[in-house]
Each structure stands twice: as C-alpha cells, then as structure tokens.
C-alpha cells in the first residue's frame, strides 16, 4: 500500500546530480510532485518522464516542482536526463537500494524496482494525493493536475 492523503511525506535526502543531494524538506513552501518509476531508458517514445518534462510549465503555474525517483544510479540518471533533455531532477534511490521507495510503499520487491507511484505534497509537506499506476501503464499527468487544482481551490 502506498502512503495516502493526510500523511506527512517522509523526508529523505538523495543524489540529484553526481555530487549534489536534494532533501525533500528543502522544498517546503512549494508543492512537490514525487514520481516514482521503475527504470530509466523506457522503450516508449514519449514516456512518463518526457511527458512531465513538457508539462513543467503547467506544474510551475501551480507552484509545484516535480521529482522523478527510481533505483537507477546518479550516473545513469545523468545520462538519461541528458539524452531526453529533462529539466527536472531525477533522484537516485540507489543506496541502500529502494529505501525511500519503501518508505512510501512504492517498492516492488520481486522486480527490485520502484513502482509507478505518484504523490502530490503540499507546501507544508503533507501528502494531498497519491496514485499507484498499474505496472506498465503510464499514468499521464491529468490526475496530478486535478490534485493541484483542488489544492489551489481549497486555498482560495
């Protein structure tokens, strides 16, 4: 079971580049979209990370940053991000492997990969929406946008 709405998002610190770690709590005051995914180098032409890359502008309008997380290493992430021109961080849940994915209930033990799970976290670090996509199905961004919009409405 993945963590659900109302839970405090567990803090973590993971490599976002080969020499820089990113701590979730550093992003307080912003909304954060956590996108756990199984692996870099998906064979599909326009995969999930490529889609989020194109929707960044819409996410930013909602004061939200997106973070991709998989168990791939920081070097693998760097090559993947470069090849797809990704403009958001990919975090390496690499050592101990899958530790953060486990914290969120988003680790697939048999595969040794993160599940395709999405979390929308509000400015105070509380999970406001989460979704577990079936294996192999790209969940798109509509659920994320709906959740962000609902947050904006509640605030007003």
């Amino acid at each position: 079971m993945i963590l659900s709405k109302g839970n405090l998002a567990p803090d973590f610190s993971l490599y976002a580049t080969p020499d820089q770690k990113l701590k979730l709590s550093e992003l307080r005051g912003k909304r954060v979209i956590l996108a756990f995914y199984p692996a870099d180098w998906s064979p599909v032409c326009s995969d999930q990370m490529a889609l989020y890359n194109e929707t960044l502008k819409i996410f930013h309008k909602h004061n939200a940053e997106v973070l991709g997380i998989s168990v791939d290493s920081k070097w693998c992430h760097m090559a993947f991000a470069q090849s797809r021109n990704l403009h958001f961080p990919l975090l390496a849940d690499f050592e101990p492997k899958g530790e953060v994915s486990r914290l969120y209930g988003a680790y697939h033990e048999e595969e040794g990969e993160s599940r395709r799970a999405l979390f929308v976290i509000d400015e105070e670090g509380i999970i406001q929406w989460s979704y577990l996509s079936p294996d192999g199905i790209n969940p798109g961004a509509d659920g994320i946008l709906d959740a962000l919009e609902e947050l904006s409405n509640v605030k007003q």
Partner: protein
C-alpha cells in the same frame, strides 16, 4: 479510462463528416515516428468509412525530444489560416525526416500559400496559443504519449499501431449506432 476535455469544438480542425456518429480525435506530434505510422492508417480509415467518421487532430508536440515538432505544428496551423491545414498536415507527416524551417517554408510554397502571410502567421501568438491550448487539453484528457486517440470522447486504450486496432472499436461503435 479518461475522457476528452474539452470536447470537440469549432476551434478544432475537423475532417470528414462533422455530423457523423463517430468522432475520432488524435493528439499527435508531427515528428513522432509513431504518429507517422498512424497517419496512413487514419487515411485508410477515413476512406473506408467515408462520411461516417469525423476526424479531429489536436497538437501534442513533445518539444524536448522532437526539436521540430513545435514549428511543424505552428506551420500546419498557419496553413490552416489559409484553409490548407489538412494539406500541410499530410505533407508534414509524409516528410517527417526532413522537417526544419526551410523545408516547412518550401512546403508552404508548394501548396501555393500566400507565403508572406504564412510567414507572419507561422510566428503569431495566435498559433502558439492554439498549439499550447491543444497540448494542455491533451494533458487534461490523460494523454500519456503520442499518438493518443479518443473515440466519441473516450480514450482508446487498445491501439497497437495496427489498422485493426483502430478499425475494431470504430466498427463496434457503428454497430451500436446502427449505421
């Protein structure tokens, strides 16, 4: 299964019979090879079901992976200002590997557009807004890659790049409609 938001409206480019019982919407990227594969399948479908299908194309350019997708979308929109959207649309898909500024301009010449006007419309705010509006509608409708299809407003999930995977759901919808 997601649904189309917003529904088909006068801002959309429509081909076929606007009053048909089947409306097929494609969210596509002019530089995406999978959309290139889908293009002749759709042409075949429209021919086979002449008058029974209304086809709508909305732009879903993935600009970071396909550097010419956005300018191509704008070029088709600009051609549309002179009533030649579909002509440009076809030519772009038929020449997917040659897309760049010069080539797109040549296409505009080939289909005898007023090139001065084309050049202006190609860079216009209006065109950009249309393409971005299309893209956002795709995101909201749950499009997760291209091509993304909707039949009568419902996302098509079984498409696998074969003609049959487009044909079957359309045939069953036609049967239900009793056409």
């Amino acid at each position: 299964m997601s649904s189309l938001k917003p529904g088909v409206n006068p801002r959309d480019h429509q081909l076929g019979n606007a009053h048909a019982s089947i409306t097929l919407v494609e969210f596509g990227d002019y530089e995406c090879p999978h959309c290139g594969i889908a293009h002749p399948l759709i042409q075949r479908l429209l021919k086979e079901f002449d008058g029974k299908i209304n086809f709508v194309f909305r732009n879903f350019p993935l600009q970071e992976v396909h550097p010419h997708a956005y300018i191509s979308a704008l070029a088709a929109e600009a051609a549309g200002k002179q009533g030649k959207f579909w002509k440009m649309h076809d030519l772009i898909f038929e020449n997917q590997l040659r897309l760049n500024n010069n080539f797109l301009f040549e296409l505009a010449e080939d289909i005898q557009l007023d090139t001065e006007r084309f050049a202006k419309d190609w860079k216009s705010k209006d065109g950009e807004e249309k393409v971005e509006h299309d893209f956002e509608s795709g995101v909201r409708s749950g499009v997760n890659g291209t091509p993304g299809f909707f039949i009568n407003g419902n996302q098509l999930v079984g498409y696998n790049e074969t003609y049959e995977s487009l044909l079957r759901p359309i045939e069953s919808k036609l049967r239900i409609a009793g056409v």
